[in-house]
Symmetry: C2
Subunit: 190 residues, 2 copies
DNA sequence: GAGCCCATGTAATCAGTTACATGATTAC
DNA sequence: GTAATCATGTAACTGATTACATGGGCTC
């Protein structure tokens, strides 16, 4: 869970093998990290400033001859140390919030169609995510033969795939159960 | 995700079919809700006070003749209205944070054994959760024949089961992939 | 009498969200 | 010309965590 400023380690992690601007870090995160740890701009820039005052990163402004100004950050030895210490510690527990389950849990007396609609939206959302992960994995597998750097990245994609698969399977089963239940109810009610 | 004070709706939801104290609500949540929406005491009591000033709940202090004092809360018509309005809206997106994936993602250069240990801890944690959900579901199925109130609760348990299953399957596969990869590396390295 | 469960709360802090503000460049 | 992308930030707010504080009752 929170309360340990994980954002800083994500930034340090990204900088540990590349020099990047805040905006570029955001792009990297959107592709490979946001699925299991969302981060917004509102956190990135202030955290970057914090890391700079701590001496964990160094800023250099790129020549503004063309395009907007860019602040490039590189990691310092102190930053690497901070990152390693974090990596050496065992990982905390997972943290998840599913509003849809809350609403289903409390909507027993509510409208059935609303609930089916909710599950449908959930299904569509995560079928999309699932497809994304599947094609991602296929791509990785093409370049992944034997010894390489991407194995850990592959593991995170595999994780995403399994979870989205679980989501979509659940949604399909939930819809079936709901419609069966309410067909029966109607029958008895009439 | 956040920024809409979901806690208040959880409390209202619980009170919508029972009169409860804050402490009792916490117990209910630990059993049935905390798996998909964690809530702590530090949120419950202040939110309850807020709901009272808003006129969504009413407090009555139980007789303190035996045992510690207990503040019993009941929902008001205004509270029910607030709850229904929330339930009528479509659900927001899911929100998840997996520190283990972050650490794996960035620990490519790090120690392999650390990573295997991390995955192992994850596996143990979620095997336990999986078993919990399975026995929960079995219990529900015994009492669930046809028309009843627990269908929506059943759906949340089914969800938990599917997700924990995905977690444990991933962990097993990840371990296999890691050990295969590093066995190969060792061979080539020698 | 030590430790755990019952029971209620407050205070400090922070992580994270949202909205606002600005301005250049590129593509339709 | 207008919409999208590039690019960097600030400010206000609040949801949520953590730690602290208190006290009674039960059981070993």
């Amino acid at each position: 869970m929170p309360k340990e400023n994980t954002t800083r380690y994500i930034l340090l992690g990204l900088l540990s093998h590349e020099v990047l601007s805040g905006y570029e870090m955001k792009k990297r995160m959107d592709i490979a990290i946001s699925h299991f740890w969302p981060v917004g701009f509102g956190q990135i820039y202030p955290t970057l400033a914090l890391l700079e005052t701590e001496g964990c990163v160094e800023k250099s402004v790129s020549d503004t001859s063309q395009g907007p100004e860019k602040h490039l950050y590189s990691i310092t030895p102190k930053g690497r140390e901070s990152l390693s210490r974090w990596l050496a510690q065992p990982a905390d527990s997972e943290y998840a919030k599913y509003e849809i389950l809350l609403k289903l849990f409390f909507a027993a007396q509510g409208n059935v169609d609303d609930n089916v609609a909710r599950i449908d939206a959930f299904l569509v959302r995560h079928e999309e995510n699932l497809h994304m992960m599947q094609s991602f994995r296929a791509e990785l597998e093409r370049m992944l033969d034997g010894e390489n750097d991407h194995l850990y990245f592959y593991l995170t994609v595999l994780f995403g795939e399994k979870v989205y698969e679980a989501y979509t399977n659940w949604a399909l089963e939930a819809k079936t159960l709901l419609s069966a239940h309410f067909a029966k109810e109607k029958e008895l009610g009439k």
